[in-house]
């Protein structure tokens, strides 16, 4: 049984500000049904002040309590004051969270960022979701990992998993996380290894263009390679998860696909497409391919 503080229990059993906010002018959404927790944050911002806030959360007790705490903390604050709230502040407000549950507080902070971006008319994917996808299981990027390391002074891979979930699934990304941790602790700027080389899965052969060594691909060559990689790597992987992918069009270096049988409305399907599919195609075919998801 988890050791929750009385404040966590109290906010879980009597969450404040639950439900849709009818006159909200900023909404931020993070997480997904598939990942086990999700938070939708509604804000009503007037004259740069958060007049009202509410939430809807799918998740465990600490996810619900973190959301409730967040709405209480930001009401009446200016947008800038609210943005200064870190995941640690949320955890502190609750009298602390079990280490394994820190990702719940991170989710709160990310939803807040997403809502403010929406309010400011910035693109819906929060800044922290940009960058190279590190953990495919939980859709966590390098930038997100660097951020939690820095903000929470993390020193171990295990802590990173507690805070972001990255590494808590298949474990394939653990080495990558360790590398990011070491680089961050050593004070190196992240992102240096964008599009880093990954070993091609066995049996695929060397589809990858040798850097600079081979001439650019012709359209037909590219199409063939994209289709091979989709069939041999991407589709089997998605099918493992009960999903599927359909190739709709290849226009120059833009590949249009549709997801099938997955929670297509889920915010992190975007990450799946951009992260996993695009990254795999970039690794295996050509470094500047872009993937576009077409609504089914």
């Amino acid at each position: 049984m988890w050791e929750y503080t009385d404040t966590v229990r109290e906010h879980f059993l009597n969450p404040r500000n639950v439900g849709e906010l009818k006159d909200a002018n900023a909404v931020g959404e993070v997480g997904s049904l598939a990942c086990g927790d999700a938070l939708k944050l509604y804000l009503k911002i007037e004259n740069n002040i958060i007049q009202d806030a509410s939430f809807q959360t799918f998740g465990c007790a600490s996810a619900i309590a973190s959301s409730s705490a967040l709405t209480e903390m930001i009401k009446g604050k200016t947008v800038e004051e609210a943005l200064a709230i870190s995941n640690k502040d949320i955890a502190n407000f609750l009298g602390g969270l079990p280490r394994e549950k820190m990702h719940c507080s991170v989710m709160g902070q990310e939803a807040l960022e997403a809502a403010v971006r929406a309010y400011r008319g910035e693109p819906p994917v929060p800044h922290s979701h940009e960058g190279r996808l590190v953990c495919k299981c939980f859709g966590v990027t390098e930038d997100q990992i660097v951020k939690v390391i820095q903000e929470n002074k993390l020193t171990s891979v295990e802590e990173i998993t507690n805070f972001t979930k990255a590494g808590g699934g298949c474990g394939d990304c653990l080495e990558d996380i360790r590398g990011i941790l070491e680089a961050t602790l050593a004070g190196k700027a992240p992102g240096g290894n964008k599009g880093a080389e990954r070993p091609a899965p066995a049996g695929i052969g060397d589809l990858r263009q040798q850097d600079g060594a081979t001439p650019p691909l012709s359209n037909v060559q590219r199409m063939q390679r994209v289709m091979t990689v989709l069939d041999e790597i991407i589709r089997p992987r998605l099918q493992q998860d009960g999903g599927d992918i359909e190739l709709l069009d290849i226009n120059g270096k833009e590949v249009s696909v549709a997801l099938r049988g997955m929670c297509t409305s889920c915010p992190s399907s975007r990450l799946t497409i951009e992260g996993f599919v695009q990254q795999t195609l970039r690794d295996q075919v050509e470094a500047d391919i872009t993937v576009r998801e077409v609504a089914p």
Binding site: V18, C60, D241, T264, S265, S268, G275
Partner: protein, 403 residues
């Protein structure tokens, strides 16, 4: 928390039966003799252990010499599996399933690291094994097959008789983890082609920390614990006399109550399931209702998370389990539900209710009255609640997350 505990988590552990406690108490008080000692004071301990061995054997249709006492179900599983593999050192292949308890699953993963080839058989959407898959997996190199009698999470009962026959035909040893089955369904080892069978006291109203292993007469055996000559040299260590006496008493009681489990307890479980499904929309039963322990139900509710359900149930004194990621202490839902391909949307909201003969109709009524309110409440908090009314987004699940 409410004063009264409503205990619906009997697959996790059970209450010690009052009769069992009575039976063991003298051996915690005055009858402390070491069964190996030579005076008549100790002889009473020895007699008590012998009687417990008869009682335990009696429940499962074994003979007393085929029973050895251990410290828990896990020890019994380890002993059997390692013993069989050591007895056939030339064979390096072990077959088990993806839905085993960690007592077997982790050992399988460990053996893999030790150079064994381990096949973890897949199951279908209801958690069922395919005998054809098993037959196809067996090779000349296969030393042992280990399949659980019944699954702790779903209650699924596996066709151990058919599997055992197959193993016999192919000259492969067969171990069964029957920790969840013993005491809940009739088991007759005289009729079943099983070489080793593990059971655990605390799942059948004996205390924690005692188990037994059945080793069929003639099956190869290598001790796990070496030392003194206790258990005829097959399990060293001074016998835990009070616990063993308790296990014997619990087995004797279980023999009397197996029919009750299969009538009254089953009826309670069925009523509970029927009413929950009727009152809570977007709920599904995980597992195979056709082949299931009479006391177990595993139900999933869409759009809510298991740990949140458990904490709310706890407010009403109701004890249950969940296979959600947050309750397992890992970040992914239960390996059993994932092996079955239960969509994540349901896997995160799973709830296991497991009854015993001590549960009552009133308790079932209480849970049926309470649980729907909790699910409604959590769905009100959930951002996906509206999806329950609209068409739902593909249940196929698993965006970035993967199994």
């Amino acid at each position: 928390m409410s004063a009264k505990t409503v205990y619906f988590d009997n697959n996790a552990t059970t209450a010690v039966a009052p009769e069992v406690l009575e039976a063991m108490l003298p051996f915690l008080r005055d009858q402390y003799g070491n069964p190996s000692s030579m005076y008549s004071f100790a002889g009473r301990s020895q007699e008590a252990v012998a009687r417990a061995r008869e009682q335990t054997a009696g429940l499962i249709g074994a003979s007393p010499e085929e029973i050895l006492f251990t410290s828990c179900g896990t020890e019994s599983d380890s002993t059997a599996i390692l013993s069989a593999l050591r007895a056939r050192p030339e064979k390096k292949h072990f077959i088990t399933t993806r839905v085993e308890h960690p007592a077997v699953l982790s050992l399988g993963q460990y053996l893999e690291k030790q150079g064994y080839t381990v096949s973890f058989l897949a199951v279908d959407g209801k958690g069922r094994l395919s005998l054809d898959d098993l037959a196809a997996a067996i090779t000349k190199d296969t030393a042992l097959v280990s399949v659980m009698f019944a699954n702790n999470e779903t209650g699924n009962i596996y066709p151990v008789e058919a599997i055992g026959k197959l193993c016999r035909e192919r000259d492969v040893l067969f171990h069964v983890d029957a920790v969840q089955a013993v005491g809940k369904i009739p088991i007759d080892l005289q009729a079943l082609p099983i070489d080793y069978l593990a059971l655990s006291g605390h799942k059948l109203h004996a205390p924690k920390g005692v188990g037994a292993l059945y080793v069929r007469r003639g099956a190869p055996f290598r001790p796990f614990l070496r030392g003194g000559h206790q258990e005829r040299g097959r399990r060293a260590g001074t016998e835990a006399v009070p616990n063993i006496v308790a296990l014997g008493a619990a087995c004797a009681l279980a023999a009397e109550h197996t029919s009750d489990e299969n009538t009254r307890v089953r009826a309670l479980r069925d009523k509970l399931q029927e009413r929950l499904l009727a009152e809570i929309p977007e709920a599904i039963i995980n597992g195979d209702p056709e082949q299931r322990l009479p006391n177990t139900m595993n139900i999933s509710f869409k759009y809510v998370e298991g740990e949140a359900i458990l904490l709310m149930l706890d407010q009403f004194g109701i004890c249950a389990s969940s296979g959600s990621a947050c309750t397992s202490g890992s970040l992914e839902p239960s390996h059993v539900l994932r092996a079955m391909g239960v969509p994540f949307t349901y896997a995160h909201g799973s709830l296991r209710l497991s009854l015993s003969r001590y549960n009552t109709q009133e308790e079932v009524d209480f849970v049926t009255a309470t649980l729907p309110k909790i699910i409604t409440r959590l769905r009100e908090i959930s951002p996906y609640k509206h999806l329950a009314d609209d068409a739902s987004p593909g249940d196929g699940a698993a965006c970035a997350c993967q199994a």
